[in-house]
């Protein structure tokens, strides 16, 4: 790893010192004189704070540029070994959120949904919240209150979310939005390897001879990883992309398998079938390191290429091609993402890829292995320390008595006080609909855009008696709340995140939060104190929480005990498990061939393909699939306010094949069993004729998730975002297509029901708070 010579302690911005600047950074202030032109006048006094991007699971290193007044005003690429200066458009524009006029700077509150949100004091908002928690729990039991966290939070905060729910609220109902992200991969990894993380670092991609990307739109969702993909290709690696769309990376692949969405496990079973038929399995590896091989072999015999070709809608020859390319390569790697994970058989899809890697012996070597590309910045770390419904810190099971005892000892509570396992995020919404959950605290998530079947989600939240939300912008979900707590943005606090490699990296504080804004940590601790659990939440900083997290993870597979803030700053990141402060971390798993199961073997699992949950019929003959666009992030609450990103992608579209006879830009109505919406058509041959694609970053009336189905994988409980039955129709009026929001700097926003009790102070930035915007 490259040591970062400019690492700060996270609280103090680093003075600009040209002699310390790595190549490509702005270290030229005194480096030999300034050219006699006008372009450098604003450089004097600038400081650079090393940190990481707040968005996806790549976690690119960057510097935030801080001006004389301590305000973040720009970004500078950073030569961190994850991204080597590279940044995507989201990363470049991320800093604009920090001092954005839409930032929430005072708590908002209303006592009923008939009222508008109004600014109140912190005391009033906290008192109301605590009294509602007490009222609901006294009347309906502790489990009538739930907590939903987020995987964009630092790991310290996700640890605190789990502890807050179980120790302060003593409810079993806690889950997080990572449930919508990579839990299928997590479930598969646990079943096969008993460890929930990718097997290899990104750098291994450069060493591979064959790279298989399954349902991973690397170009748009993880653009900076493309340099690794191209690097592998430059060295002669075969590139295989499995995706129903011709993505930017698929366009240049040696083999692009444009299979029908929802048929992935049939495809991978068939590839394994060919591998076996052609004698390309690594029998020695299987005999030494795997169990369940005979059962898997018997099952995949049911998937000859002729049958799979029919199910998947691809040529049988392509299946043979993929099998030969992957199995014959001296070193091969498979990466997958939401494309195969967002399914009612998401876990099985991932297992079918793991079976292929195992059968060919492509595991645990430089350039050979598997991985999932996590969508959220802390998608990996956010699931490690107890934010999930069934997990305690360190990945311990809440159902395991020994694990419960260990955590209760650290938390200083009786084991009898620790609640049982809760339900998943979507299931909690169904419970809200049924009034089983009557109160909810949401922490940095936006289910109104990100959960499937919007009508159900809206009804669930509307039914809830009390709803509080933590956020730094008024999201669609926050606009529905009774109380909104304005909390810090990533650049205003320090903490760690674990990226898609399970590499823990440190984010540093670049500026003080605005007056009136508190950290999520402070708010949780304050509510806990007012509920009478203050002694368990006496945390003054992220560092104090991290120290408890380290102790809570010691001895588990997800061992953070050897990771310290200081080491992270010295090394640029450490991959867990890291059991002691002199341990170098574990960038690559299974190098000695043993997994984390008691027998040290890979537990191969039989995978049987079954059709998606939403059946096709004459009225709904096409497949609707959803995904991301490069300019926006998840529910869009952050990126839909940044002018450059809005300009780049102002609104969603329905991507359809020319076979349907629509003109480009023509309004097209997409109809599913949940409803219908109108989008401009993007007519392209780069999508299967039987498939329609809509990016999901926008709220109603152009929300892809108003159309998607809330069917869940029975094991991971991930929703089936990637396939539901639909039809497309001509829409009568062009004006049915909503106009794109185009205001530079920030965008027009749906009705937010905010009123202000006090006039703005004269120095307040224009547009502060949503009611002030035109």
């Amino acid at each position: 790893m490259t040591a970062d010579p400019r690492a700060a302690d996270g609280r103090t911005a680093v003075p600009l010192d040209p002699s310390l600047a790595p190549p490509g950074t702005r270290g030229f202030r005194d480096a030999g004189g300034i050219p006699a032109d006008r372009w450098h006048a604003d450089q004097n006094g600038e400081t650079l704070v090393p940190t990481h991007c707040c968005f996806c699971g790549v976690q690119c290193g960057m510097y935030l540029r801080v001006d004389h007044g301590g305000k973040v005003f720009g970004v500078e690429p950073r030569n961190h070994d994850i991204n080597r200066m590279r940044l995507c458009p989201k990363g470049i524009n991320a800093y604009q959120q920090v001092n954005h006029p839409d930032r929430l700077t005072a708590p908002l509150m209303r006592r009923s949904r008939d009222e508008d949100l109004r600014e109140v004091s912190w005391d009033e908002a906290l008192d109301f919240t605590v009294s509602e928690i007490k009222r609901i729990q006294q009347a309906h039991g502790r489990d009538a209150f739930g907590v939903l966290g987020g995987a964009s939070l630092f790991s310290e905060k996700t640890y605190l979310v789990g502890k807050f729910a179980r120790v302060a609220l003593r409810t079993r109902h806690v889950d997080y939005n990572g449930r919508l992200c990579m839990v299928s991969a997590a479930g598969a990894n646990k079943l096969a390897f008993n460890i929930d993380r990718a097997g290899n670092p990104f750098a291994d991609i450069l060493l591979t001879d064959c790279l298989l990307l399954a349902g991973a739109n690397v170009g748009e969702c993880f653009p900076v990883l493309t340099q690794y993909v191209w690097g592998a290709r430059d060295r002669g690696a075969t590139l295989i992309v499995v995706d129903p769309r011709e993505t930017a990376v698929a366009r240049t692949a040696d083999i692009h398998v444009a299979l029908k969405s929802g048929t992935d496990s049939a495809f991978f079973n068939s590839v394994l079938n060919v591998v076996i038929e052609e004698g390309l399995t690594d029998e020695a590896y299987l005999a030494a390191h795997a169990t369940g091989w005979e059962e898997v072999k018997a099952e995949v015999a049911q998937y000859p290429p002729s049958r799979a070709a029919e199910i998947c809608g691809v040529p049988a020859e392509q299946i043979v091609q993929v099998a030969r390319a992957f199995a014959r390569a001296p070193k091969a790697m498979a990466f997958h993402a939401r494309g195969i994970e967002h399914h009612t058989q998401g876990v099985e899809n991932c297992l079918s890829v793991i079976n292929l890697c195992t059968a060919t012996g492509h595991i645990g070597k430089p350039g050979a292995g598997y991985g999932t590309l996590t969508g959220q910045g802390n998608g990996q770390g956010g699931r490690e320390h107890g934010q999930k419904a069934d997990l305690l810190p360190g990945g311990r099971s809440i159902l395991n008595e020994e694990h419960r005892r260990q955590i209760c000892e650290i938390w200083g509570i009786e084991e009898s006080e620790l609640p049982a396992a809760g339900t998943s995020m979507m299931e909690m919404v169904w419970q809200m609909q049924r009034r089983e959950i009557r109160g909810l605290i949401g922490i940095c998530n936006n289910p109104f855009v990100s959960l499937p079947n919007y009508a159900v989600v809206k009804e669930g939240y509307d039914t809830t008696e009390f709803h509080a939300q933590f956020d730094f912008f008024l999201s669609e979900t926050a606009a529905n709340a009774h109380v909104v707590f304005p909390v810090t943005i990533w650049a205003e606090d320090e903490g760690v995140m674990a990226n898609a490699e399970a590499r823990v990296v440190k984010h540093n504080k670049a500026q003080e939060p605005p007056a009136g804004v508190r950290t999520d940590t402070w708010v949780m601790c304050e509510i806990a104190r007012r509920l009478g659990a203050g002694d368990k939440f006496a945390f003054g900083s992220s560092r104090e929480v991290f120290d408890e997290l380290r102790r809570a993870s010691a001895g588990t597979i997800i061992d953070y005990s050897g990771i310290t803030y200081e080491r992270l700053e010295e090394t640029g990141g450490i991959s867990w498990p890291c059991p002691s402060t002199d341990h170098p971390g574990t960038p690559r798993l299974f190098e000695d061939g043993t997994t984390y199961h008691a027998d040290g073997k890979i537990h191969m699992q039989v995978v049987e393909w079954h059709p998606p949950a939403d059946p096709y019929d004459d009225a709904h003959p096409l497949t609707l699939t959803t995904g991301r666009t490069v300019a926006h992030f998840l529910s869009g609450n952050q990126t839909r306010r940044l002018g450059a990103l809005v300009e780049q992608t102002p609104r969603p579209w329905a991507e359809i094949h020319p076979a349907h006879g629509f003109r480009n830009g023509e309004p097209v109505r997409v109809v599913t069993r949940r409803g219908s919406e109108v989008f401009p058509a993007l007519v392209t041959e780069a999508i299967r004729p039987d498939t329609v694609f809509i990016p999901y970053h926008w709220p109603v009336p152009t929300a892809a998730n108003a159309l998607t189905i809330d069917a869940l994988d029975p094991r991971s409980k991930i929703p089936e975002y990637k396939v539901c039955a639909c039809r497309i129709e001509h829409a009568a009026e062009i004006d049915e297509v909503p106009a794109p929001p185009v205001a530079p700097g920030h965008v027009a926003y749906p009705e937010t029901q905010v009123s202000r009790t006090d006039p703005l102070p004269p120095t307040a930035p224009q547009g502060r708070g949503t009611s002030e915007r035109s």
Binding site: M85, I92, V630
Partner: protein, 200 residues
């Protein structure tokens, strides 16, 4: 070809527009991007390529050559600068002269603006912002030798023929090994690359 320059590789472009956003961050023209993306085969492919100033070398940049106000400076190291604000009259001659469709006129300010190869960075050996951040290396800054060391066998073109005119540029394009024709930014068909008629 100048020593260190930008190499454009359309085969690596994923259309993410990180270059466009990064260009806005450049201190030379903060807030405005001097780079744009072209979609060469829209409707049948997602192919895209970034268009930057090609910093023409021979003949001396057509934009500078036709400028009636002598507002466009070409530095000794071959960088074609954007128009000098104190001289530019916003006549748009440069726009019409450029074979690559690069210079833009701010009509209100009556001022031409274009990529100046991030002179504030490159003068100090740093890469331009667009090439620094480009996630895929579709924009690469360095010498030809550095590029070839990183991408073995790569071929580049720095000479373009438009009808009767030949233009040699400071910025070079990576030539796709398997394809012989592609549209040039601005819409004119490429006839010849590196002395070879690519229509055959």
């Amino acid at each position: 070809m100048m020593g260190r320059t930008i190499f454009i590789d359309p085969g690596r472009c994923i259309g993410c527009q990180a270059c466009v956003s990064a260009c806005r961050e450049c201190d030379s023209h903060r807030g405005k991007s001097m780079i744009h993306l072209d979609y060469t085969d829209e409707g049948s492919s997602v192919a895209s390529l970034p268009t930057v100033c090609m910093h023409c070398e021979d003949p001396v940049a057509p934009c500078a050559e036709v400028c009636p106000a002598d507002a466009i400076l070409v530095t000794a190291d071959g960088v074609v600068q954007q128009a000098d604000t104190s001289r530019c009259i916003g006549c748009a001659n440069c726009v019409n002269a450029c074979p690559f469709g690069v210079p833009k006129i701010d009509l209100q300010a009556k001022l031409q603006m274009k990529c100046n190869l991030c002179y504030d960075r490159t003068a100090y050996g740093l890469a331009p912002m667009c090439a620094t951040v480009c996630p895929t290396g579709a924009l690469y800054y360095g010498t030809l030798e550095e590029l070839q060391a990183e991408r073995p066998g790569v071929q580049v073109a720095d000479t373009f023929v438009f009808g009767e005119s030949e233009v040699r540029t400071g910025v070079a394009m990576v030539v796709p090994a398997e394809r012989v024709r592609w549209p040039v930014p601005g819409g004119l068909p490429v006839v010849e690359v590196n002395g070879k008629d690519v229509r055959r």
